[in-house]
Symmetry: C2
Subunit: 289 residues, 2 copies
């Protein structure tokens, strides 16, 4: 597809989606009790995603559903246990991995340098190693984001959270943004790894957020993600709901940045998040227990 055509298409999709969102409720997903109506005996395999959302939004609201008992532990399984602070040491990373094993978090999310250490520490467990590419500014060259993703999956990561090229997006260079994502997606999918595309929503207006989601979908991303945690703002319920509506049910939405309590997590999941990035993960799951 040529650049002008892509630009027109993306702009048109963006406008259409924004227009429709103007008529729809922002948060439509976590309707209390809907799980039971849909799944009968509450088969967690059928409605795992829905159950997780409703459970996380307040377990009492689906207490009639037998799936709740099975879904409850999955609060931990929603969380990427995250430590991306640059000053984190070897022992900090090892403690993060030990906590992830103990609580059954979906993954540990660490900077690339620590991927081999985390992969070794988590060998034989179900906890994945997630890392980042072009992080947190997103303004690296595409060839470097791709090389970073390639090195990450080669050394043990199975999930890569890449930052969109925010400046290119804001400059209207949609083809550059899409190629950037596609390049990382291609190298990761070849290795069986997932890609989450970080929008850094605090630096975008709603139209740009919609366009970024559309480009991430077009590029084959597995998730869109709100924030790096290093920007001027973190995840908001409004952004998560917007992103969920734009990407539809087949692409994940990861809420990250400023999620410090169980209540924060519940609000994000209720708005449509299927993964949570948090550093306060232990406190969150202990509050849930």
């Amino acid at each position: 597809m040529e650049e002008p055509e892509l630009q027109r298409l993306v702009a048109a999709i963006g406008e259409e989606i924004l227009a429709r969102l103007g008529k729809a409720p922002a948060v439509a997903a976590a309707d209390s009790g809907a799980c039971c109506q849909q799944c009968g005996e509450g088969d967690a395999a059928v409605c795992a995603d829905k159950v997780c959302r409703v459970v996380a939004a307040g377990a009492g609201r689906v207490s009639c559903c037998p799936a709740v008992a099975r879904a409850q532990p999955s609060i931990a399984a929603l969380i990427d246990h995250t430590l991306l602070r640059p000053e984190a040491t070897r022992s900090d990373i090892l403690r993060l991995c030990a906590e992830a094993r103990q609580y059954g978090f979906a993954s540990v999310c660490v900077n690339p340098y620590w991927v081999p250490l985390a992969a070794e520490a988590l060998r034989g467990t179900s906890v994945k190693v997630c890392t980042v590419a072009g992080f947190p500014l997103g303004a690296a060259m595409t060839e470097i984001k791709r090389a970073e993703a390639e090195a990450a999956v080669r050394t043990g990561a199975t999930e890569v959270d890449m930052v969109i090229n925010i400046g290119a997006l804001r400059s209207g260079d949609y083809d550059a943004v899409k190629t950037d994502i596609q390049s990382v997606v291609e190298i990761c999918h070849r290795a069986g790894a997932l890609v989450k595309v970080i929008l850094e929503t605090a630096l975008l207006d709603d139209r740009q957020k919609v366009i970024a989601c559309v480009l991430a979908r077009l590029a084959g991303a597995d998730f869109v993600k709100t924030s790096t945690g290093f920007g001027p703002g973190g995840a908001t319920v409004q952004d998560v709901a917007l992103m969920r509506q734009v990407v539809g049910p087949e692409v994940g939405v990861k809420a990250a940045g400023g999620i410090r309590t169980l209540e924060d997590l519940r609000r994000m999941v209720a708005a449509g998040a299927t993964r949570i990035g948090a550093s306060a993960s232990v406190r969150i799951v202990e509050a849930a227990a």
Copy 2:
């Protein structure tokens, strides 16, 4: 050199330097009027560095020296005109380049994605293109920092500001830190480009700052630099003075992060900085004029 030997050596050097610094004044360089005594007619070629420092610390203090008239414009030539915000657009970068041409800044410092654009915009001028590697967290893999530096110099950068591996340093993995720097230095020097090593001083204690400076020297860096501008703190007079004393007169010291006024710049130069990273560069040179 084996890792234990390097560790012992670096630790010993660090302790020795810290002990000596305890007895020496932190800021020793910009003694008012010393320029004239040293250079007679104030030949800027002989004492350019000294004159710059003294001028920047307060022009009146060396008004007896004819070199002042020639040194005055070099305030702009001390500054890397910097725009590393991830949301910067194409037009922001072009404006930055236009300002750099107009005022004669040493360089523009931009994210890697914008290097080709800046190099094109500054072709035929004396303004260099500076970019970053492993920025701002420093926790990328060494092979990626190296690849990033290689791509940067290939596409038009002649200065690369790389971030030290802060977590490895704080873990005592000095060999990893040194190899990381060396790897970038090697690829840059091969292309005739300079390397500045960012310590992110706000995340280090004094002993770690000294060790980082020693490692940067051992690795052949051209400059040490205080901060990324994205960390919890920016340049301080104390850190610049410490870094200058550790690296000696042959390695540059770049102060960056929070330098917003001419007075800020003067304090940094007086403490030993030979390059300044700033976004408020236009305001600073206009204040100087």
